[in-house]
């Protein structure tokens, strides 16, 4: 055992970890894969995924992407299901604070890097921003064909008939395409791609986005990307055009009618309320409403009676 290891065994070596945890060689390897992914939008690039101190399935792909591109001047935002204060988002933010010391933020517009799980922020992104998705299952064809040897061929030949059949079968069975999240997209009219388990509500935000979008799957060891202003089309049929989720309710906190809503159970009698899943979007709207109501102009927050609505099943 070397002296260094002995030091580590006694827990006195925290400073010996490199900036952003990964060693520079690993970061360079990941950045090369990112460049390749950017050059071939939607194509899954295999990479030498490293063990991270957070568990597989908890965002190791996204964490490795963030670790390999983050610099001391970056401002990092981490969200989970749209929320900055969800436990895993807090945990990942703490990790990067500890191993990089960079500034973190909850404001979408103030961040240079946003790492996300299962949502795209409601606030439109800009060219200087990078959105990093945590991806559990990068292969959109996996549920139809579990064998990678086969799916690789299907991608190579652009043979995506199986997916169309799946969507058609949904329609014949349910009257709708039954995929509500991880809704498959065609990127740059070439590669079928999983947008990660974002609700299909967020799919339209992927296309023609000024920001760089990177997707990291640590356990499955794949990276893919959507470069800025790339076309991303959600699969559909002429007679069954792609549609996103809509709510009859609006956000009980900020009154938003255009955002993705979480359903919050208030009690065991079926009382519930709907609020924005994007916490920063909701908070920012509330602040501006308060500011404008202080100015004496309108901007009414949600009516109290709307705070708790009866669900359709109660």
């Amino acid at each position: 055992m070397t002296a260094n290891q002995e030091g580590a065994a006694r827990g006195g070596r925290r400073s010996a970890y490199n900036f952003a945890y990964l060693d520079e060689q690993s970061k360079r390897m990941i950045r090369r894969c990112i460049l390749k992914a950017m050059a071939v939008p939607g194509f899954q690039v295999p990479f030498g995924s490293r063990e991270m101190p957070l568990a597989y399935g908890w965002g190791t792909g996204g964490i490795q992407l963030t670790a390999s591109i983050i610099g001391p001047d970056d401002r990092l935002k981490v969200i989970d299901q749209g929320a900055d204060d969800a436990t895993n988002a807090v945990s990942i933010r703490r990790f990067f604070k500890k191993v990089t010391g960079v500034e973190t933020t909850e404001q979408t517009s103030a961040a240079t890097i946003i790492q996300t799980r299962h949502r795209v922020p409601e606030t439109a992104l800009e060219e200087r921003q990078i959105l990093i998705y945590q991806v559990p299952s990068p292969e959109p064809l996996k549920r139809l064909e579990p064998r990678e040897a086969e799916t690789r061929k299907m991608h190579a030949y652009g043979e995506y008939g199986l997916m169309s059949v799946q969507l058609y079968e949904d329609i014949s069975r349910f009257g709708h395409i039954a995929t509500t999240n991880s809704y498959p997209v065609m990127t740059n009219e070439r590669y079928l791609m999983s947008p990660s388990p974002i609700p299909k509500f967020d799919n339209p935000k992927l296309g023609k986005n000024p920001a760089i979008q990177l997707f990291g799957a640590g356990r499955e060891k794949r990276i893919y990307a959507v470069p800025p202003y790339t076309q991303v089309r959600s699969l559909d049929f002429d007679d069954h055009p792609f549609k996103v989720q809509r709510w009859t309710q609006s956000c009980s906190l900020c009154g938003a009618t255009e955002s993705y809503l979480d359903e919050i159970l208030m009690d065991d009698k079926g009382q519930r309320m709907f609020v924005c899943s994007d916490t920063d979007y909701c908070a920012t709207r509330k602040e501006s409403q308060q500011a404008s109501s202080n100015d004496g102009t309108s901007g009414s927050p949600a009516h109290p009676s709307r705070e708790a609505e009866k669900g359709p099943n109660s």
């Binding site: 055992m1 290891q5 580590a8 065994a9 970890y17 945890y21 990964l22 060693d23 690993s26 295999p46 030498g48 995924s49 490293r50 063990e51 991270m52 101190p53 568990a55 597989y56 399935g57 908890w58 190791t60 299901q81 204060d85 969800a86 436990t87 895993n88 807090v90 945990s91 799980r117 299962h118 949502r119 559990p136 990678e148 040897a149 349910f174 009257g175 709708h176 509500t180 999240n181 974002i198 609700p199 299909k200 509500f201 356990r219 060891k221 794949r222 989720q245 709510w247 906190l253 993705y260 809503l261 979480d262 359903e263 919050i264 159970l265 208030m266 309320m273 609020v275 899943s277 359709p312």
Partner: protein, 368 residues
């Protein structure tokens, strides 16, 4: 307000860590466990953590076990996450297990073998009766085993070498043209996998999963009819060739368990009937793992040997993609993460389907 309660916070995480620390320490009236005690007296647990954690360091593995409250998979995780930050300063020469300083050596193929069988320390012939004497600490001199009259021969060949010379056992040669050995800790699994990838994958793979797969192959969900050609446990030297020296130097000994399984092969158009091999190697004393690995290795050679792949254990993608317990445990446990957004999407869809269905129903009733 309920809305706040569903989000976790920084304070909750800190409190959770404190709770772990408290539970790990247990009753403060009981003396704290030392890492050295774990390394000395929980040796087989340490072996497993070193093997699947891919780090041969008893102290670090023991520390990981202490930190993980004895949870092997969590300890393996800790060790791997430490390992991943380590620079690589050399690649060792191939281990020469024929030169092993043997502690145990058993073959199921021949009654008498040159060099002899060595039972070594094994639980196989203990009666699994709880030893209530262990409830109380015993004086140390009570536990010394007798030393044999004569030392073991060194450099003993494999038990089945005698029939290897008749050509009855597959000759193993390094694949032609292959320069560097694949490194699964640096490169992603690439299918179809070579034997180097497969053996690395199985060596790091979860013991329970690998042994379970091997069991399935024996029980009829596979074509395995293996014999233990030889299994041996002992110390081998690890040698590297430093660039500035140009010759091999030993950097230390490690204890390993090696298993070679022999499996009857009926022959094909290209190959005569013979015994083919499956190979298993693990750190420390972990024969169960090495044997399981050897059976799975042989099962996965079906394509190479022209056998029909009909069972899960013969399916390379199925086996190799699911052996790693960090990947498996991580992905299963991630289900405790919030899925509010996804669930909301499905909830809304189900409501829509039900609404439409009851609408249809009403329409039909109206029509009748």
């Amino acid at each position: 307000m309920a809305y706040v309660a569903v989000k976790g916070g920084e304070q909750a995480i800190l409190n959770s860590h404190r709770l772990i620390a408290e539970e790990r320490r247990g009753d403060a009236a009981v003396p704290e466990l030392t890492v050295r005690q774990v390394a000395e007296q929980m040796g087989l647990a340490v072996d497993r953590v070193m093997c699947e954690g891919s780090v041969y360091d008893r102290e670090l593995a023991a520390l990981a076990l202490k930190q993980a409250q004895g949870d092997a998979v969590e300890a393996i995780f800790l060790l791997r996450a430490y390992r991943t930050t380590m620079p690589r300063f050399a690649v060792s020469n191939t281990l020469d297990t024929a030169q092993m300083a043997i502690q145990r050596r058993v073959s199921a193929t021949f009654k008498d073998i040159p060099g002899g069988h060595v039972l070594g320390s094994t639980y196989e012939y203990t009666h699994r009766l709880l030893d209530f004497d262990l409830l109380d600490p015993a004086p140390c001199e009570d536990t010394k085993a007798n030393i044999a009259d004569r030392p073991l021969e060194s450099g003993v060949g494999r038990a089945f070498d005698s029939i290897r010379d008749e050509g009855l056992i597959e000759v193993e040669t390094a694949p032609a043209g292959q320069q560097a050995v694949f490194d699964l800790t640096r490169e992603p699994l690439s299918l179809p996998a070579g034997r180097d990838q497969r053996l690395q994958n199985l060596a790091r793979g979860d013991e329970g999963f690998v042994v379970g797969l091997a069991y399935s192959a024996l029980r009829g969900y596979g074509a395995a009819h293996p014999y233990v050609g030889e299994t041996r446990v002992g110390d081998v030297a690890v040698e590297i060739v430093p660039e500035e020296l140009g010759f091999a130097v030993s950097i230390g000994d490690i204890t390993v368990t090696e298993c070679q399984m022999l499996d009857l092969f009926g022959g094909s158009e290209l190959q005569p009937a013979q015994f083919t091999r499956g190979y298993g190697l693990s750190f420390g004393k972990s024969e169960r793992k090495a044997m399981g690995m050897a059976i799975v290795d042989r099962s996965l050679r079906c394509r190479e040997l022209g056998e029909e792949a009909r069972y899960p254990v013969q399916d390379e993608e199925f086996v190799l993609a699911h052996t790693d317990n960090l990947e498996a445990a991580g992905f299963v446990s991630h289900l405790t993460l919030p899925h509010y957004v996804d669930f909301q999407a499905d909830l809304q869809f189900i409501r829509q389907l039900r609404r439409e269905k009851s609408g249809d129903h009403l329409d039909k009733e109206a029509a009748e």
